[in-house]
C-alpha cells in the first residue's frame, strides 16, 4: 500500500512537472484551458472537466470543456456568478467546493443537481483560479463515480489549479501586452501615414492629382477602398477613387454609371459632403445591401464587391464644406472601429486644410498666368520682310507659377506699314507692383511709337511715365532696349536706344557684335541720358535681344555669361526661330537646379 502510494505520488509529481512545462509554452488562455483540462482530467481520471475565464465582475466564459455532452454544456458556455451554485460559491468565496456524490448534490445544491449529475456524473470539484488578489476564473472536474477527495488528492488538485491560474495570469498579461503593443504600432503607423499625407498634400500638384494620391496612399495603408468627393457649386463630384486592383476600380465605375448613386442616400458621400456630418457603418450587413439595392441585378453586383465596413467623413475647413472622404473595408475582412473613425476625421481635416490652400494657390496661379498673358504678346505678328521669334521662361523656383514676370518683349506697328518697333525690358522685382510697371511699359511704348516718336524719345517719355507711376520709388526701375526699323528692299535699317539693358547683339552669318548704346535705367532719375545708334540688317542678318536671366543663368560651371551666349549664337544655323530655339535649348542644358530669374529672348531677322 505504501509502495502503491509512493508510485501514485511519483506519477503525480511527474505529471505536475510535465504540466508546468507545457503551461510555460502555452501562450493563449484558450490553449492553457485546453491543456489544463485534458492533462488534469487524464491524471485524475476525471470524466468531465470545464474551465472558465472570468470576463468581468459577474460573468465567466468557457475556455474549454471535455467529457460533457454538448446539450448539457452549451447553456453554460457563459454564466453569471450567482450565490447558491457550487461554481459561483467557489469563485465568490475563493475556496474550493467539493461534492462527493449525487446525494450531496441534491442535498447541498438542489437547484443545480440535475445539471451537476447529468450524464451520470456523481462527484465534482469546483476550484477557483486565483493569483494574488486576481480572480481569473474557475475549473470544475467531474467524476462518474463517487469520490471522497482525500487530502493528498485535494492537495494535488489545488496544485494543478494554482499552476493553471499562474499560466492563465501570464497569458492574460501577454495578451494585454500584445494588444497594447499593437495599439501603439497602429498609432505610430497612423502618425506616419498622416505625415505622408501632409507632405503629399503640399506637393506641387493639381487638387485632383493630390486627392488621387491621397486615395492611393489610403488603400495601401488603412482601407481597401478610398474615394474622395468634392462639392462644386450644387454638384458633388467624385474626383478620386482607389483600390489596389484597377479592375475593381473599373468595375465600380461601370456599376455607378449604370446605377448612379442616390444623392439622397443617408450616409452616402453626397449626403456627407452636403451635411458635413460623418457616417459610420462598422458592419455592412446583407440587410443593408438589400435595402440599398435598386433591383436584383444591382444587389448581386454590390454583393460581389464584398464591402464589410465603411466610414464617410466630411472634408471641411472652418465650417466650410468641401466634400467627403470615404473609406471602405472589403476583401481584407477588416472592420473599422471608433478609433478608425476618429483617425479618418483627423486625416480628412488635414486633407481639407491642404485642399483649401491648394485652391487658393490655384486661384493665385490663375491670376498670375492671366496677368502674365496680358504682359506678353499672345503671338508675334506676321510682318512681311521680317522673321520674328521669341521665348519667355518663368523662374522654376518654389513659387514658380505664382510668378508674374518683370520681363517683357513686344513687336509694335509704327506709323507706316514698313516701319516697326521692337522692345525688350526687364523690370526690377516681381509680384503685382512689378507687373503693373511692366504693363505700363508695354502700353507707353506702344502709344509713343504710334505718335511717331523715335527710340530715344520713346524711352525718355517712358521714363517720365514711370516716374509718375512710381513716384521715383527706388525699388521700381527697369532696363529697356527699344529699336525701330524701316524695311528696305535689301533688309532693314534700325535705330536703337538702350536704357541700361544688356546690349542687343547683331548676328551676321556667324559673326556676333553687341550694339553699344549706353543709357541710364528708367524709373529713378528725372533726367536720363539715352543715346541712339543706327545699324543695317541685310538679308538673314538679325538682332538678338535678351534679358539678364540669360547671362546670369546658373549651371554647375558657374554663370552662363556673355561668352557662352556669343559662342552659341555664332554656331546657330538657320533663321530667327532656329536661333531662338537653339539658345533656349542650350540654356536648358546648362541650367543646374532652379532658374532664379525669368528669361526673355527676342530675335528679329531681316528677310526681304
Amino acid at each position: 500500500m505504501i509502495e502503491a502510494d509512493a508510485a501514485w505520488h511519483r506519477s503525480h509529481v511527474a505529471a505536475l512537472q510535465r504540466l508546468a512545462g507545457e503551461l510555460l509554452r502555452a501562450a493563449s488562455p484558450t490553449a492553457i484551458g485546453e491543456l489544463v483540462v485534458t492533462t488534469a482530467a487524464d491524471i485524475l481520471g476525471a470524466d468531465g472537466a470545464t474551465i472558465y475565464s472570468r470576463t468581468d465582475t459577474d460573468t465567466m466564459q468557457v475556455l474549454h470543456v471535455t467529457g460533457w455532452p454538448e446539450k448539457v454544456a452549451s447553456p453554460y458556455r457563459r454564466l453569471r456568478l450567482q450565490r447558491g451554485r457550487p461554481l459561483s460559491d467557489a469563485v465568490l468565496d475563493r475556496r474550493p467546493v467539493w461534492i462527493e456524490d449525487a446525494r450531496q448534490w441534491r442535498a447541498r445544491y438542489p437547484d443545480m443537481a440535475p445539471v451537476g449529475t447529468a450524464a451520470h456524473m456523481q462527484a465534482s470539484a469546483c476550484l477557483p483560479l486565483c493569483v494574488d488578489d486576481r480572480d481569473l476564473g474557475a475549473v470544475v472536474f467531474s467524476f462518474r463515480a463517487p469520490r471522497a477527495f482525500p487530502a493528498d488528492e485535494r492537495e494535488f488538485l489545488l496544485t494543478v489549479t494554482a499552476l493553471c491560474a499562474q499560466g492563465l495570469d501570464r497569458a492574460r498579461l501577454l495578451v494585454a501586452e500584445r494588444a497594447a503593443r499593437e495599439a501603439a504600432e497602429r498609432q505610430r503607423d497612423r502618425m506616419t501615414f498622416l505625415s505622408h499625407t501632409t507632405r503629399l498634400m503640399e506637393a506641387p500638384l493639381s487638387v485632383e492629382d493630390r486627392l488621387q494620391r491621397l486615395a492611393d496612399l489610403a488603400v495601401s495603408e488603412i482601407a481597401d477602398w478610398c474615394a474622395v468627393h468634392l462639392l462644386r457649386g450644387n454638384r458633388v463630384d467624385q474626383v478620386a477613387v482607389a483600390h489596389s486592383d484597377p479592375a475593381k476600380v473599373a468595375f465600380v465605375a461601370q456599376l455607378e454609371q449604370r446605377y448612379p448613386p442616390d444623392p439622397d442616400a443617408a450616409g452616402g458621400a453626397i449626403q456627407v459632403s452636403r451635411t458635413g456630418e460623418p457616417a459610420f457603418v462598422p458592419e455592412i450587413t446583407d440587410e443593408l445591401l438589400i435595402a440599398a439595392a435598386v433591383d436584383d441585378e444591382h444587389l448581386a453586383l454590390i454583393r460581389s464587391i464584398g464591402m464589410r465596413s465603411a466610414l464617410v467623413v466630411p472634408l471641411a475647413v472652418r465650417g466650410r464644406k468641401l466634400g467627403a472622404l470615404t473609406l471602405v473595408q472589403a476583401e481584407s475582412e477588416r472592420r473599422f472601429d471608433r478609433i478608425d473613425l476618429a483617425f479618418a476625421q483627423q486625416l480628412a481635416a488635414t486633407a481639407a486644410v491642404a485642399l483649401d490652400n491648394a485652391r487658393l494657390y490655384e486661384q493665385q496661379w490663375h491670376t498670375a498666368r492671366t496677368l502674365q498673358a496680358a504682359l506678353l504678346p499672345a503671338r508675334l505678328p506676321d510682318v512681311p520682310g521680317l522673321r520674328l521669334a521669341a521665348h519667355y521662361r518663368a523662374p522654376t523656383d518654389v513659387q514658380a507659377g505664382m510668378h508674374v514676370g518683370g520681363d517683357l518683349y513686344d513687336i509694335i506697328p509704327a506709323t507706316a506699314p514698313d516701319r516697326w518697333g521692337f522692345v525688350i525690358a526687364d523690370v526690377c522685382g516681381k509680384g503685382a507692383e512689378a507687373a503693373a510697371l511692366t504693363a505700363l511699359i508695354r502700353h507707353t511704348v506702344r502709344a509713343e511709337i504710334s505718335h511717331g516718336l523715335g527710340p530715344a524719345e520713346v524711352l525718355t517719355r517712358l521714363n517720365a511715365a514711370m516716374l509718375r507711376q512710381t513716384g521715383g520709388s527706388p525699388g521700381r526701375f527697369a532696363t529697356v532696349a527699344h529699336g525701330q526699323l524701316t524695311l528696305t528692299p535689301t533688309g532693314a535699317t534700325v535705330r536703337l536706344a538702350n536704357a541700361g539693358h544688356p546690349p542687343p547683339l547683331l548676328l551676321r552669318h556667324g559673326d556676333v557684335a553687341p550694339v553699344e548704346a549706353p543709357g541710364t535705367l528708367l524709373g529713378v532719375y528725372p533726367d536720363v541720358a539715352v543715346t541712339e545708334v543706327s545699324c543695317t540688317l541685310h538679308r538673314n542678318e538679325m538682332v538678338v535681344l535678351y534679358t539678364d536671366g540669360v547671362t546670369e543663368a546658373r549651371g554647375t560651371d558657374g554663370f552662363y555669361g556673355p561668352d557662352r551666349l556669343e559662342k552659341v549664337l555664332q554656331t546657330a544655323n538657320g533663321g530667327a526661330e532656329a536661333v531662338a530655339d537653339r539658345l533656349l535649348a542650350d540654356l536648358d542644358a546648362f541650367h543646374s537646379g532652379v532658374q532664379r530669374d525669368d528669361i526673355a529672348i527676342l530675335v528679329v531677322e531681316a528677310t526681304p
Binding site: 527706388p474 532696363t479 541710364t520 535705367l521 546670369e552 532664379r596
Partner: protein, 103 residues
Amino acid sequence: MTDDGTAEVVLTGELDITTYEDAEKQVTDAEQAAPALLIIDLAGLQFVDSTGVRLILSAEQRAREQGRQLAIRLGHGLARRVFAALGLLDKFDVLDAQPSGQP
C-alpha cells in the same frame, strides 16, 4: 562707426533677389547709428545683379531724406560692370572710381 561718423557695410557672397533681404538688413542696421557717411562696399561680392542697384538706390533715398551721405565701393569686377551697364557710375559717390594702383 568711426569717430568721424563714418560707417561701412561690406557685403560678401551673392546679392540677388534671394539674398536681398539679408543685405538690406545689414545696411539698415548700420543706418541705426545715423552715420554722417555710410559706405557700402560691393567690391567683394561674388555675384550681384540689378538687385544690388535697388539696394543702393533705396539706401541713397533714405540717406537723402535723413540728411546723410552715401558712398559706394564697386571694385573692378562684376559690381562695377553692373552699375556701368545700367548707366549709374556718375549717379553715385563711387570711392574707388579709379582702377586700383593708379592715382
